[in-house]
Symmetry: C2
Subunit: 243 residues, 2 copies
């Protein structure tokens, strides 16, 4: 059984939306922080990975939400590297509230990038060993993502300095800021996401002018489809299910 | 002597810029979080203030920075309500590192707004008493702020859902995101702020299209002047000194 790692986190007001609910971008930041803490604890932190000439890149998150944690709540964030194959590492996250109820889960796929060639590389044994996760042959196919329809809203965004993280590219979480923004204030204060499936295809840098496309589909269920493009190429695609 | 209140905070990667330094907007969020914790501990939290029909509004922050805390540092954030008069409450903040060195200080001015009339109201005794701060006659004049010059860069920003906080207006800290963005990537990775003086004049709401004006003045010293306007009216003005 792979190592599990848990840390406490208090939900800050600046991690919440107008209704005091943890935002989707901050949800991703909070869980990723915990995987960084686990890596540090196992002596496989950023320094170790950089020294190998590598960097972690996230390719997909699938989030299932029972309820979004609220401002001031003290939650427990748990993570576990579940399995890996030659190129892909799979990691799960859980957030539980103070009563032990599961607020949400995240299943994520990571790959390693060679910092010089910017190409995907195979997973070195010495990097992955301390997580004690299972080596598998299978490549898991993430749930496919539907593109926005013809009736899509298109909004331009220019990447700001504050959108960039220490990898010099847009922080993955920031895509969700742009994506949900397209749904508008009234929709967002009257609905809550129950599932999010987001894929990252291409990095975006400071000053880039991206387009964010949004469609809302309201039949039996309420879903929104999102796509961030740069010069016509997909950078990130996402489907969100709402209640 | 007024009550001092201290809490620990670990600087998260999503509170930092591309070089791993705490960002100015997050610096404000982190200190404000501590004043909220003090208010909660004194039973003068948001619920108490709202029940009086009031809300806190910040009118000015003056920040002096020895050095910006870095990602993963565990800092101590201290706050103290220093004094108040009929309309204004004055509060100081300090951030110290693990060795007890002072990283920065913030001196802030708060007023109370009537939530119905949106007008400033006098400070109720029962609200301020637990902080045990001195009542003064004097109205402190904050350091005046210089406007951007004729050679200013003007950039438009549309307020996003993620810019809005639980007061339904733009989070004060967000203005600094827009302001520093005007200085550009190369300037920002090669300089560090040593002093920030920011004033808030007018609230901004979801969907508003604001302009952010920026001038950089490079004579003996390096200063930048910033102004956020909505329909030609000032919303926030700021001077930053850089090294």
């Amino acid at each position: 059984m792979a190592n599990k790692f848990t840390e406490e986190h208090e939900i800050k007001f600046y991690e919440c939306d107008v209704l005091g609910r943890l935002t989707l971008p901050m949800l991703l930041n909070v869980v990723i922080k915990t995987s960084e803490s686990q890596s540090d604890a196992l002596d496989r932190g950023t320094d170790y990975v950089t020294q190998l000439g590598l960097g972690w890149v996230i390719t997909q998150h699938e989030i299932k939400i029972n309820r979004l944690p609220l401002v001031s709540e003290k939650v427990k964030v748990t993570t576990q590297a579940t399995s890996y194959n030659k190129y892909f590492c799979y990691r799960d996250f859980w957030i539980h509230d103070a009563n032990g109820n599961e607020c949400l889960t995240v299943s994520s796929t990571f790959v390693l990038m060679d910092l010089e060639t910017r190409k995907m590389t195979s997973v070195p044994e010495e990097l992955i060993a301390p997580y004690e996760c299972e080596k598998i042959k299978k490549i898991k196919r993430g749930t496919p993502i539907e593109a926005p329809g013809d009736d899509r809203l298109v909004r331009p965004y220019r990447v700001r300095f504050s959108d960039i993280d220490s990898n010099r590219h847009v922080n993955n979480a920031r895509y969700l800021d742009w994506m949900v923004d397209g749904l508008g204030y009234d929709f967002l204060i009257n609905h809550e996401p129950t599932a999010v499936n987001i894929k990252f295809d291409k990095e975006v840098a400071y000053g880039d002018e991206i387009n964010c496309e949004t469609t809302l589909i309201n039949n039996d269920e309420l879903n929104s489809n999102h796509l961030v493009t740069l010069d016509g190429n997909s950078c990130s695609a996402c489907n969100i299910h709402w209640k």
